[in-house]
């Protein structure tokens, strides 16, 4: 239940932040130019290219903004004219969607792997504890000694880290 509550709070926070970031602002030349690289072969982002080609391209974008076009329309226009090679990032559709999904998929898979490995370590630890308990039942105090030793070591380490 607690876990669910935390997830709910997390989702609400994400939604709140999404909402906040969604506050509309007028489109700027930088925003549109940021979506493209300069087409003169200098390999710079269009927003950063200070060569004549970059300046004239940004001036062109400004005229489009002044004429009332939105970001999506200008981006579509430029893509149609210069091809998707001119885009500064892969599109989020078709084959190029892989480019966007892959990093998150790898981290997600890695996360599952980490959790599984840690779970197996926890299980192994629990089994060891069970073994210790069996020993205790039969009158052996090895489990207690081991646990006490572990706690001593832990306290010692924590203290060492804390002050010295």
């Amino acid at each position: 239940m607690k876990f669910k509550r935390w997830i709910t709070v997390l989702v609400m926070m994400v939604l709140l932040l999404q909402g906040l970031s969604g506050t509309a602002m007028a489109v700027t030349v930088r925003e549109v130019a940021g979506e493209f690289i300069c087409n003169c072969g200098c390999n710079k982002g269009l927003a950063h290219c200070d060569m004549e080609c970059g300046q004239s391209m940004r001036a062109f974008i400004k005229t489009k903004i002044d004429s009332g076009l939105g970001k999506a329309q200008i981006v579509a226009y430029l893509k149609e004219n210069y091809g998707k090679e001119a885009l500064a990032a892969p599109e989020k559709k078709g084959f190029d969607l892989i480019a966007w999904i892959m990093p998150f998929a790898v981290v997600f898979a890695g996360g599952i792997g980490v959790v599984k490995i840690m779970s197996s370590w926890i299980d192994r630890n629990d089994n060891d504890d069970d073994g210790d308990r069996d020993d205790n039942d039969s009158g052996d105090v090895r489990g207690d000694t081991k646990e006490a030793g572990m706690h001593d070591e832990r306290i010692e380490n924590e203290l060492k880290d804390f002050v010295w």
Binding site: L16, L17, Q18, G19, L20, S21, G22, T23, V29, R30, G34, E35, I37, N43, K44, G45, A47, H48, C49, D50, Q55, R58, G83, K84, E85, A86, L87, A88, A89, P90, E91, F95, D96, A99, W100, M102, P103, F104, V106, V107, G110, G111, V114, V115, I117, M118, S119, W121, I122, R124, N125, D128, R154, N157, E158, D161, F162, V163, W164
Partner: protein, 672 residues
């Protein structure tokens, strides 16, 4: 003098190869005389490399244009400091610098380990000397990478071609050497890891022995990246500091994996866990330093950093494959011996947080690698080489970066093995209150950008966690020892330099995130102005006062004078003078213009000026003026991280004693 340098390299090939072979055979046959010969040959290799470096420096200072390399990267008008930096301006010299660092590190390692680690040292020398042999081979047998190759003009020219204008910057004598120190430095823990795998001495001794080397390498790679960003910001003149250029990426990747390694070895030291994982991480880190070199020098990728294609690609690729194949091959071979009885009490423990930290760091490294190679994948599949630039990295790496920032704050608060509810409540209460207060304050201040708001809140969280760590430690020490608070504070750090040095580095990382959150609020104005014209940008009014020509020895500098005013009050805030250099035509190089930006910097924001004068007369000039919020925090972070690293690396008597005791235990064990 140049011939001394060249023949030193020729001799180096022999000594390095000899050191490798003798060390291996000596160790296999248990022949101490052969091991000693190998060690001495490695020492001689270090000396030969230093000699060849001195020779190349001398050739630059003596303006020996009979050498192609000196001719390519210097001329008579070049100042002393840039003449020196000509050493690493090109492919051949920078490879020699790599080899020199390797040779010197090997020399230091041999001197450091005269009485310890004797079992593994022959293997360490063999691995290091293999690297030296490889570089000696490249430096001698490939014309394009031989710094002592004669000039190909058929006659000795009177003057050289000069240094690329882009390299006339203080960054030139800091960025390449520091980055290379980082790259080569990671070769030391790699060599010890391989030696441990070959010899089967798989305790954490190799980690303890190379701990300082790892921090050293990590620190210089950090500084190399920050100085590189600073250089890009002030020299490339585009108003930014990181363009996710493939070559920037290639030095960022080993930094990320190296950072993961630096954290995860702590678990092996404390708990004896993650032995396989740590081996894998150091192999990857080392391989990524080679990959970075491959990307820079093979000509496969076009970037501001790349050297002209030199035919090095196949050799570097083979070396990369050898490092990966050899490293992982050995790791697989030793897997049964490396398997430890890892045990964990709970997922909410510091061990698991370290693993998640590793996951995120490797996730960012993978994203960076993926973004670098995706254009080739796209070209192969779709026939179109798409660009993977800033928007991609901003959207993919930023969430991972935020997760990492959270873990930087979260990790120190979690207990080892299992965090109890009491532990969580006690440690998290104040940082959470501080974070909530920060969040509310930012909202009240009008911050509405979701990502920035989250990052800023997490920065408060991280800083409050670190503050509480210092506070709790200081007061506890004060109570237990009766020292004054100031003394307690200083002694707390001094008695545990590694831990508190690490926290200072984390403060530096938080400061870098402060600079990141300024990014979305960047504002740019581009305008052509006549003298007397004014332009408004954000809270500033900028007046173009005029421009003048400043003829210099090898260039014409045109300087604009701009007065900066507070827009509201009209108060004059200062004068800035952006410049444009027009380097004179030299040799085969045509006239080259170069931008010298001017920056009015405060901790709140930078006002950044790029200036282009009208080439016909001096009537009109175009300006790009950028307001870059919070930029100064990035450079200040570099100083804080340096300070933290110096503390973490400072000699520690306690650590020395602990190591000495472990060394003696290991020696007894191996004798038995």
């Amino acid at each position: 003098m140049a011939s001394i340098g060249y023949y030193s390299l020729v001799a180096l090939l022999g000594t390095a190869l000899f050191a490798t072979v003798m060390s291996v055979i000596g160790k296999v046959r248990n022949r101490k005389d052969m091991i000693l010969s190998g060690e001495r040959a490695a020492l001689v290799s270090g000396g030969l490399l230093i000699l060849s470096a001195i020779s190349l420096f001398y050739s630059f200072l003596a303006r020996d244009f009979s050498l192609q390399y000196v001719y390519n990267y210097s001329d008579r008008s070049l100042s002393f400091i840039y003449t020196i930096s000509g050493f690493w301006a090109g492919n051949a010299g920078s490879l020699l610098m790599w080899a020199v660092f390797l040779g010197v590190f090997q020399l230091i390692l041999i001197l450091q380990n005269r009485r310890k680690n004797r079992d593994v040292m022959p293997w360490v020398i063999a691995i290091m000397s293999t690297q030296v042999t490889f570089f000696a081979f490249l430096l001698i047998f490939l014309d394009s990478t031989n710094p002592f190759a004669p000039v190909s003009l058929g006659y000795i020219p009177q003057d050289g071609q000069g240094l690329n204008p882009m390299l006339h910057n203080p960054g030139m004598y800091l960025h390449p050497p520091t980055t290379y120190l980082g790259y080569v430095g990671f070769g030391v823990p790699f060599a010890f890891a391989m030696a441990a795998l070959i010899s089967g001495k798989l305790s954490d001794m190799w980690i303890r022995t190379t701990r300082r080397w790892t921090i050293f390498a990590w620190f210089f790679l950090t500084i190399g990246n920050i100085v590189g960003a600073w250089w890009a910001y002030y020299t490339l003149g585009w108003g930014g500091y990181w363009a996710w250029d493939p070559v920037e990426n290639s030095s960022f990747m080993p930094w990320l994996v190296g950072t993961a390694y630096l954290h995860s070895v702590m678990i092996q030291e404390k708990k004896g866990m993650l032995k396989i994982w740590n081996m894998a991480l150091i192999i990857l880190t080392f391989a990524l330093t080679i990959l970075g070199t491959l990307i820079t020098r093979s000509g496969i990728i076009n970037s501001v950093h790349t050297f002209s294609s030199s035919g090095l690609g196949p050799y570097l690729f083979a070396f990369l494959m050898l490092a990966l194949g050899g490293g992982f091959g050995l790791l697989i071979y030793r897997l049964p011996d490396l398997k430890t009885e890892n045990e964990l009490d709970s997922i909410i423990s510091r061990e698991s947080m370290f693993l998640f930290n590793n996951l995120i760091l490797l996730g960012i490294a993978f994203t960076t690698l993926w973004g670098t190679i995706y254009p080739f994948i796209s070209e192969a599949v779709q026939g179109v080489k798409v660009t993977v630039g800033q928007p991609f990295y901003d959207q993919v790496s930023a969430p991972l970066g935020i997760a990492l920032l959270f873990l930087i704050g979260f990790c120190p608060l979690i207990a080892w093995r299992r965090a109890s509810l009491e532990n969580l409540r006690r440690n998290f209460l104040i940082p959470l209150i501080a974070s909530f207060a920060g969040f509310s304050t930012f909202l009240v201040m009008g911050l509405r950008h979701g990502g920035v708001l989250l990052t800023a809140t997490l920065i408060v969280f991280v800083l409050s966690v670190i503050f509480m760590e210092f506070y709790r430690g200081t007061t506890a020490r004060n109570r237990m020892t009766g020292e004054g608070l100031a003394n307690s504070f200083v002694n707390l750090i001094w008695k545990n330099k590694r831990r508190y040095g690490g926290y200072m580095i984390h403060i530096g990382v938080a400061m870098i995130f402060v600079a990141f959150i300024g990014g979305p609020f960047k504002h740019t104005v581009e305008k052509s102005l006549k003298p007397g014209d004014a332009v408004n940008i954000r809270n500033y009014k900028v007046v173009f006062d005029g421009m003048r020509d400043l003829p210099r020895k090898n260039k014409l500098t045109v300087e604009a004078t701009m007065s900066v005013f507070d827009k509201k009050s009209g108060k004059k805030l200062g004068v800035v003078k952006p410049q444009k250099d027009f380097f004179k035509e030299t040799g085969s190089q045509p006239e080259q213009p170069w931008t010298r930006v001017a920056v009015r910097s405060t901790s709140r924001e930078d006002l950044y000026f790029i200036f282009s004068p009208d080439e016909q007369g001096r009537e009109l000039a175009s300006f790009k003026i950028v307001v870059n919020p919070l930029m100064r925090w990035m450079w200040m972070a570099g100083f804080v991280m340096t300070f933290g690293t110096v503390i973490a690396l400072w000699p520690d008597e306690g650590e020395k004693r602990r190591l000495a005791s472990i060394y003696s235990r290991e020696a007894v064990t191996s004798e038995v």
